[in-house]
C-alpha cells in the first residue's frame, strides 16, 4: 500500500549533521570539537551525547549573538579558537558549522586562514594546533553525513603529504569504522592487532568516550587517533572503510587512494557472520596471514550458537531502524539467523538503503523487507501496523513504539538513553554477533516465558 508522504516530521529517526561531526572530532587525540553557531547547539548535543555515554563531552561554541548574525561571526570564532587553544590546550580544533552560520554565509576556511595569518604576524604561530573545518548545515543530511564529512575533512586537511613524518617499518592499515560503540572499536583494534598489523583507526572514541575514573578532570580526555598517525595514513598498506552506503562516494578512504595510492577496501559494517567474514578476508589480504586461531574459534562458536538458537528465531518478524549502515549490518545478520526483517527504516536518505538491503539479504530473504528511507517514527509506526513485527531492533527512541506494539526492543546503536551501559554494546565481529544473538534469543524467550501461564522452568 502506497501512502502519501507527510510534510511534517514526527519523532525523527535521525539527528542533525553537526552532532555527527562533533562525535568524529571527539575521536581524535587532543581534539576539541567546536561549533560555529549559537550557544544552544553545542549544549543540546552535549546533553544528548552525555546521556548515552555517561562521559564528559565538551563541545566549544563560538556562541554567536544577534549582532554576529548580522555582521558575521568571524571575530567570535577566532576568540573561541584562542580560548580553546590556551585554556584546553587543544592538539586539534575541529570546527563544524551550523545552519545559522551556513545561512549567514560565514566562510569558515577563510576565517581560519586569516586567523593563522594573524597568529603568524603576532609571532604566535608556533604551537598553533591543526584547525580542521567542516561544513555541516543541519538542513542537509543527518548526523551520519556530518560524521563522515568530518572524517573526510580531517584526512583531506591533514594528510597532505607535506608533513615530515617518520617512515616506520611497521605495516599498518587505516581503518575507518564509522560511528560504532567504544566496545566495538576496542574489539576492532584487537582483531587488527591479532593479524600482526598496526592500525590507524579514524576516528577512535574507544577511550575518549569511555574513559576510566581518574584523579583529575581531564580537559581533553585521553585517547583518540593520534594526529601523527593521521598524517602518515598515506603510507598505510590498505584502507578499510565500513559502510555500504559510502561505496563509490568521495570518502576519506577515497582521498587516501587518490592522493597516495593506498588500496581502498570498502565493506559493510561487520555485523553478523558474512559481513564479518568480509572484514577478516580483507585483513588476511592486507597482512598476508590467515585468520588467527582465536578468531577462527570465535567464528566456530558463533555458528554453533546459530544452530543452538535457530528454533527460537525462525520466521520471527523484526523491524530494524536507525542509521543506514547499522540497519544494513543488522539486517544482514538477522537474515542469517532465520529472523525475517520485515521493515528496515532509517531517517537517513542516501537513496542507497534499499539496494544495499537487497544485496546483503540476497538468497536469504524472500520477499525482501519493506525499506523506508527518510522515515520518522510516525512512518515506522504506521508501517508496523502492516508488518506486525515480533521484535524491534534499534536505539532507545523506539521504546514507546515497542510498548505500544507489545513486542521486545533489542537496544543497539545510538542513542541508548534508557538503559545502563548502552555505549558498551558490542555489535561487530564474531563476538559482537554472538552477543547480539544471545540478547535477541533471550528477549524472545523472556516474552514467551512471561506470557505463558505455565511458568516453564526450561525454555
Amino acid at each position: 500500500m502506497k501512502r502519501a508522504d507527510y510534510v511534517s516530521t514526527t519523532n525523527a529517526c535521525k539527528l542533525c549533521k553537526p552532532l555527527g561531526a562533533c562525535l568524529a572530532f571527539r575521536g581524535i587525540e587532543g581534539a576539541v570539537p567546536m561549533l560555529h553557531g549559537s550557544q544552544g547547539c553545542a549544549t543540546y548535543m552535549r546533553r544528548y551525547i552525555i546521556s548515552h555515554f555517561r562521559e564528559p563531552m565538551d563541545i566549544a561554541s563560538s556562541s554567536l549573538g544577534e549582532k554576529h548574525a548580522v555582521y558575521g561571526g568571524g571575530a567570535n570564532l577566532k576568540q573561541g579558537i584562542r580560548n580553546v587553544m590556551t585554556k584546553f590546550g587543544a592538539g586539534m580544533i575541529g570546527v563544524a558549522t551550523t545552519c545559522l552560520t551556513e545561512t549567514i554565509g560565514d566562510d569558515v576556511p577563510m576565517i581560519l586562514r586569516e586567523f593563522r595569518k594573524e597568529m603568524e604576524q603576532a609571532g604566535e604561530a608556533t604551537g598553533l594546533p591543526p584547525l580542521v573545518s567542516v561544513s555541516t548545515p543541519s538542513y542537509s543530511g543527518t548526523h551520519m553525513e556530518g560524521f563522515h564529512t568530518a572524517v573526510r575533512a580531517v584526512v583531506d586537511q591533514l594528510c597532505t603529504g607535506d608533513f615530515p613524518y617518520e617512515e616506520s617499518a611497521e605495516k599498518f592499515v587505516n581503518l575507518m569504522p564509522g560511528f560504532l560503540s567504544p566496545a566495538d572499536l576496542r574489539h576492532l583494534k584487537e582483531i587488527v592487532a591479532d593479524f600482526g598489523l598496526g592500525c590507524v583507526m579514524l576516528p577512535d572514541i574507544s577511550e575518549t568516550l569511555d574513559g576510566p575514573a581518574l584523579e583529575d578532570y581531564e580537559k581533553i580526555p585521553a585517547g583518540g587517533t593520534p594526529i601523527s598517525g593521521i598524517k602518515r595514513m598515506g603510507s598505510g598498506v590498505a584502507t578499510l572503510e565500513f559502510g555500504h552506503t559510502l561505496e563509490g562516494s568521495s570518502t576519506a578512504g577515497m582521498i587516501l587512494h587518490e592522493r597516495f595510492g593506498v588500496p581502498l577496501h570498502q565493506s559493510g559494517t561487520p555485523i553478523g557472520l558474512r559481513e564479518t567474514d568480509a572484514f577478516f578476508k580483507a585483513l588476511e589480504l592486507a597482512s598476508g596471514i590467515k585468520t588467527p586461531e582465536k578468531h577462527a574459534l570465535e567464528k566456530g562458536r558463533l555458528v554453533d550458537a546459530y544452530v543452538d538458537g535457530h528454533k527460537y528465531l525462525f520466521g520471527k518478524r523484526a523491524v530494524v531502524y536507525g542509521e543506514e549502515d547499522l540497519v544494513i549490518g543488522l539486517t544482514a545478520f538477522l537474515a542469517e539467523i532465520g529472523i525475517k526483517p520485515v521493515l528496515c527504516a532509517s531517517g537517513g536518505n542516501s537513496g542507497r538503503l534499499r539496494g544495499c538491503i537487497q544485496r546483503v539479504t540476497a538468497g536469504l530473504l524472500e520477499p525482501p523487507p519493506i525499506v523506508a528511507e527518510g522515515a520518522d517514527f510516525r512512518k515506522i509506526e504506521e508501517l508496523c501496523e502492516e508488518v506486525s513485527p515480533d521484535l524491534l531492533v534499534g536505539h532507545s527512541k523506539g521504546y514507546s513504539l515497542s510498548t505500544k506494539l507489545g513486542v521486545p526492543l533489542v537496544r543497539v546503536g545510538f542513542p541508548i538513553h534508557d538503559r545502563f551501559g548502552g555505549h558498551r554494546t558490542l555489535h561487530v565481529g564474531y563476538r559482537g554477533a554472538q552477543m547480539l544473538l544471545d540478547r535477541i534469543v533471550n528477549a524472545i524467550l523472556e516474552k514467551a516465558q512471561k506470557e505463558s501461564p505455565i511458568g516453564y522452568g526450561y525454555m
Partner: protein, 453 residues
C-alpha cells in the same frame, strides 16, 4: 588559596565571587564567552522548556531537525490526561526550503498536524535559521488559526537572539495571548494560578493538594500538566504564585498589568521555603477567609511531624559534608542552600546559568563565608572549584553529572531527568534520601582521587 587560582578565563573574572574575600560586585546576564564551553543553552531552549508541559497543545518546531530531535520527550513533565507534548514535531527544513523560504512547508505541516491531532492550540517555535531566512511566522499562524479555528501562536525563539532568559520571555508572550478568552464564572475568590512549576515527576500534583487542603482552588497550572483552556481563564484567578521566577515572572507581570492579578514569589523546595510559601499565600487570603491560616498551620504541622524524624536520620550522617550547586535559574539555588543547611551540610559553591544581579546578591547574603558564587560557568571552572573545595555532592543537570563523576564526587540531578519529586515536604525527604544515598555510597572509596587521600 588565592583568588586567581580558579580564574581560568580572564574575561570571566568578574563573574566569579568568593564571599568574605570579595565585596559584592558581580557581572552577569552577559553573552557567553566563545570557546569557554558554557553550560547554557539558547533562546529556543528557554521557550521550549517553559511551554513544553502544556499537554494538549501542538508544539511544532520550525527549523532543521536538530532542535526538535534534542527536545523530544526531554523533560519528565507529567500530564494527567493528554500527552501530545511528548511527541516531537518538526518542519525538518531542507536546503530547498532555506533557499525558497519555509512558509509553505510550515503552513502545510501545521494544517496536517492539526487535522491529525486536533490540539486545543498550537505553538510554533522559530529557530535560528527562521530568523535569518525571514519566514513570516505571524502571518502563517494567523492564516492557520482562522482556518482551523484554534489559537496558533508563534514563539519568537530564534536561538541566537539572546540566552535562555529571552526564551522564557518569548514563551510568556505566547502564553499571554491565550489569556482573557475563557469563562471565569465558577472561579472561587480563593483561587490562584501556579506559575513556574513544570510537574516534573508529578510535583505540581503535590502542591495542588496542599492548596486543596488550604481551601484554595487552582485555576491554571503554568505550565506543568498545563491545559490551553485553563490558560484562557487564568486571568480569573485571585492570585499568581510564581516559582522559578526567571521562567514565568514576565507572565506574572503582564497579568498584573492587564488583569490586575497580584503575584507572590514562592518556592516549593526545602522545608523552610515550602512552609513559608504556604504561609505567604495564607496571609494573602486571610482577609477573605480568616480560617485559612489555621488550616495552613495544621497542614505544615502534620507534614513536618512525619518528615522531621526521618530527616534527622539522614542529617546525622550528612552533617559536615560539603555540597556544590549549579543550576539553570538562581531561584532554585536559594532553596537548595537552605535545604542543605537543614541537612547539616555546607554549601561551598553555588552558581547558575542565567541569574540576575539581584539573584546573586541574595545568594551572597544567604551563603557562608568562603562560598564561591559563579555565573554562566563551564566544565573547566566547575571542575577546579569541585577539587578546590573537596566537594562531597554536586547538584546540577545532566551536563554537570560527568564532571562530578569523573572527579569521584556524588551527584544529584535536580533538573529535567529527575524521576522522584523534590518539591513539597515529601520532596525534601526524597531529596535528603537521594543526597544521602549518593554521599554514603561505598563507591567513592575506590575512585582514584579519594583513594589517594
Amino acid at each position: 588559596m588565592s583568588n586567581s587560582a580558579s580564574v581560568i578565563f580572564q574575561e570571566r573574572k568578574d563573574q566569579i565571587l568568593r564571599k568574605g574575600q570579595d565585596a559584592f560586585d558581580m557581572s552577569c546576564n552577559r553573552e557567553s564567552l566563545a570557546g569557554a564551553v558554557s553550560q547554557r543553552a539558547c533562546v529556543f531552549c528557554g521557550s521550549r522548556v517553559v511551554l513544553y508541559p502544556i499537554a494538549d497543545a501542538l508544539h511544532l518546531v520550525h527549523g532543521p531537525i536538530g532542535c526538535a530531535a534534542y527536545t523530544w520527550d526531554i523533560r519528565g513533565a507529567l500530564s494527567s490526561g493528554p500527552d501530545l507534548h511528548r511527541l516531537s514535531f518538526s518542519t525538518d527544513l531542507q536546503e530547498k526550503d532555506i533557499i525558497f523560504g519555509g512558509e509553505e512547508k510550515l503552513y502545510r505541516a501545521l494544517t496536517e498536524l492539526i487535522d491529525r491531532h486536533h490540539p486545543k492550540a498550537a505553538f510554533v517555535y522559530s529557530t535560528c535559521i527562521v530568523g535569518i531566512i525571514g519566514d513570516d511566522l505571524e502571518a502563517v499562524c494567523r492564516k492557520v488559526a482562522s482556518e482551523k479555528e484554534i489559537p496558533v501562536l508563534p514563539v519568537q525563539s530564534e536561538g541566537f537572539k539572546g540566552n535562555k532568559r529571552e526564551g522564557y520571555g518569548a514563551a510568556c508572550k505566547a502564553m499571554f495571548r491565550l489569556m482573557g478568552s475563557g469563562d471565569t464564572e465558577d472561579i472561587s475568590p480563593l483561587s490562584l494560578n501556579i506559575l513556574g512549576d513544570f510537574n516534573l515527576a508529578g510535583e505540581i500534583w503535590i502542591i495542588r493538594k496542599y492548596f486543596d487542603r488550604m481551601g484554595i482552588q487552582t485555576v491554571a497550572n503554568i505550565t506543568g500538566d498545563g491545559r490551553v483552556e485553563d490558560l484562557g481563564r487564568a486571568h480569573g484567578a485571585a492570585l499568581n504564585v510564581v516559582q522559578c521566577s526567571g521562567a514565568t515572572m514576565e507572565l506574572a507581570k503582564m497579568m498584573k498589568e492587564s488583569f490586575g492579578t497580584p503575584f507572590l514569589r514562592v518556592s516549593y523546595f526545602g522545608v523552610e521555603d515550602m512552609a513559608e510559601s504556604l504561609y505567604q499565600i495564607a496571609r494573602f487570603f486571610e482577609p477573605k477567609d480568616p480560617g485559612i491560616m489555621e488550616r495552613t498551620r495544621e497542614l505544615v504541622k502534620t507534614e513536618l511531624s512525619v518528615l522531621y524524624p526521618q530527616l534527622q536520620e539522614y542529617r546525622r550522617e550528612l552533617t559536615g559534608k560539603k555540597a556544590a550547586i549549579y543550576v539553570g535559574g538562581a531561584f532554585k539555588a536559594f532553596s537548595l542552600v537552605k535545604a542543605f543547611r537543614l541537612l547539616g551540610m555546607k554549601v561551598v559553591l553555588v552558581g547558575s546559568q542565567t541569574g540576575t544581579e539581584e539573584d546573586y546578591k541574595e545568594l551572597y547574603e544567604i551563603t557562608d563565608e568562603g562560598t564561591i558564587i559563579v555565573d554562566d560557568s563551564n566544565p573547566l571552572e566547575l571542575s577546579s572549584f569541585l577539587k578546590e573545595k573537596d566537594v562531597d555532592v554536586f547538584v546540577g543537570g545532566v551536563k554537570e553529572r560527568p564532571i562530578a563523576y569523573k572527579l569521584g564526587v556524588g551527584f544529584c540531578d535536580h533538573n529535567h531527568e529527575r524521576k522522584q519529586p523534590l518539591e513539597g515536604f515529601i520532596g525534601m525527604l526524597n531529596f535528603a534520601r537521594e543526597i544521602h544515598s549518593s554521599v554514603m555510597s561505598p563507591v567513592w572509596r575506590f575512585v582514584p582521587r579519594r583513594k589517594a587521600r
